[in-house]
């Protein structure tokens, strides 16, 4: 209960402060802005309710992008980690490139991908996967490498083949690390999704935020961000749930 109540209380306090500061016009005055540019939480909630079907439609688009992106990242990340762990030459050859891939600014690569793959799902999935596979790969590889060398000797002496060692010792050892990587990926996936949609899209929460920026609909922007955060929290919850189901020995 404490773990739910404490953040809820903190959130309520922050929203309360914001409500007072926004509704009295204190923030707008301090920033020398028009009142409508600084919506109060109540106004944001109103916008959330009034735009519920629009938000739901666009949330569905972004959710699909995120789920496909994260799943691709999990598959590719595990694949890379296993190959890098299994073959030293693969690790030495690809590790610097994988690190380098993370220095590519997604704001730069997103428009290029849109030019190549169009306005649909593929470029979004690609960009989300690009930002998500890194924490997954690194975490899974660290996990595989954290195996106790004594356990490896024990397994070799008990007639385990290379793959038996992998399935019976290395993979289970790496699983908690893998889930840590997945949870980090889930949190950064919305950032990738928004950038991907900004580069070119006809729908999605990022697309909505972009068009609201043009229309100065700040209340709906905040409402959209709230939906995006809620989605990330739900995905995080699902990842934690999956972790508990899979890793039962802890």
């Amino acid at each position: 209960m404490r773990r739910v109540l404490l953040p809820a209380a903190l959130l309520a306090a922050l929203i309360g402060l914001w409500q007072i500061a926004a509704s009295t016009g204190a923030i707008a005055e301090a920033l020398s802005l028009e009142d409508f540019l600084v919506p109060s939480p109540a106004e944001i909630a109103q916008s959330l309710w009034e735009n519920r079907s629009l938000l739901a439609e666009n949330a569905w688009v972004t959710l699909r992008e995120m789920v496909f992106g994260i799943l691709s990242a999990v598959v590719v990340g595990i694949g890379f980690a296993v190959a890098m762990h299994r073959w030293r030459v693969v690790r030495d050859a690809s590790y610097p490139l994988i690190v380098a891939s993370q220095t590519i600014p997604i704001v730069v690569i997103s428009p290029i991908l849109v030019v190549w793959f169009g306005y649909g799902l593929p470029p979004k999935v690609f960009i989300i996967a690009l930002v998500c596979f890194f924490p997954i790969t690194v975490a899974a590889l660290d996990g595989l490498r954290s195996v106790d060398p004594e356990a490896v000797k024990m397994m070799r002496s008990l007639d385990a083949s290379r793959w038996q060692r992998f399935w019976r010792v290395e993979a289970p050892t790496a699983l908690p690390h893998l889930f840590t990587g997945i949870k980090i990926a889930v949190v950064i996936a919305p950032i990738g999704a928004v950038f991907a949609e900004w580069a070119g899209s006809s729908a999605g929460l990022g697309h909505l935020i972009q068009s609201d920026t043009a229309n100065f609909d700040v209340a709906r922007q905040f409402a959209t961000v709230a939906v995006l955060s809620a989605m990330a929290l739900i995905l995080m919850g699902l990842a934690t749930l999956a972790e508990r189901r899979v890793i039962r020995w802890r």
Binding site: A151, S157, L158, D159, S161
Partner: protein
């Protein structure tokens, strides 16, 4: 023989099938001649000679860091020596040695994702035996060695002594002629350690194997082994070989207070102190 039972096609419930016999009767003597080993510049072993008969139990005692564990890994074929020859059951190649030795590391290293019995059955599973049959084979030993009822416990639910027993059964179940034990009871408290020594002595009486026991506990070595080799500080060589007066007596307390045992212990400690210099 064991090979045949293993590949017999299984039909119906695997639990009803007789588990494969565990003891491998092929000769498992060990012979080391002029064995040396170094990690780069660091010489750990210096022209070591040692012979162990099949079903013989030999203890290796020596100061910390003298290369006892390295020697054990060399015998098991987990490492290659820098010089000399090591034969296990008449075979010198590392892969052949690995096939004949079961290694029990210092810590129990039970895999937390498996139950106690699945941990014990690990070697059989690795050898391609189906899960039900492998568990049945291990279950028989659980009853025999006082672990009955704990088959499906998680390793974290077991006491230190029980974990060590499961780890030993895991080594025994592999069905290899040679058991290589690396300070198996070092992590246990004194009372549990004494109990485990009695337990291991009983286990070796019913299921004799060639055993190489690495320990820093002279008393443990003298109680459990036929012969104790005292190693010097690095680079290790054998400074004394002691023949043990009473072998794996049922009553440990009586054995360790025996005059012959006490004399042997003093002799071993003396050799150990001399060799540490």
């Amino acid at each position: 023989m064991r090979q045949d039972t293993r590949i017999k096609p299984q039909t119906g419930k695997s639990q009803t099938v007789d588990p494969p016999p565990l003891a491998d009767t092929t000769a498992g003597g060990i012979l080391l001649r002029g064995v040396g080993h170094s990690y780069g510049e660091l010489r750990t072993l210096d022209f070591l000679d040692l012979a162990v008969d099949a079903h013989g139990v030999v203890g290796l005692v020596g100061p910390s860091g003298c290369g006892k564990s390295t020697l054990l890994e060399l015998i098991c074929g987990l490492r290659e020596q820098s010089s000399g020859t090591i034969e296990v059951g008449g075979h010198a190649a590392a892969a052949e040695r690995l096939a004949r030795c079961a290694f029990m590391p210092q810590r129990d290293l039970l895999l937390p994702w498996y139950s106690a019995i699945d941990n014990a059955a690990l070697a059989l599973r690795n050898q391609g035996i189906r899960r039900g049959q492998a568990r049945a084979a291990a279950a028989e030993l659980f009853d025999r060695f006082g672990l009955g009822g704990f088959e499906d416990s998680r390793p974290t639910e077991l006491s230190g002594g029980m974990r060590q027993r499961v780890a030993f059964l895991r080594t025994l179940v592999a069905g290899k002629p040679v058991l290589a034990l690396d300070e198996p009871f070092a992590a246990l408290d004194a009372i549990t350690r004494a109990e485990m020594q009695e337990w291991l002595a009983a286990a070796l009486r019913t299921d004799p194997r060639t055993v190489v026991l690495v320990t820093h506990d002279v008393e443990e070595a003298l109680y459990l082994c036929d012969r104790v080799a005292v190693l010097s500080a690095r680079p290790a060589r054998i400074v004394a070989e002691l023949s043990v007066p009473m072998r794996r007596a049922e009553d440990r307390d009586e054995a360790v207070t025996d005059a012959g045992f006490v004399a042997a212990r003093e002799e071993a400690l003396h050799a150990l102190r001399e060799g540490s210099r």
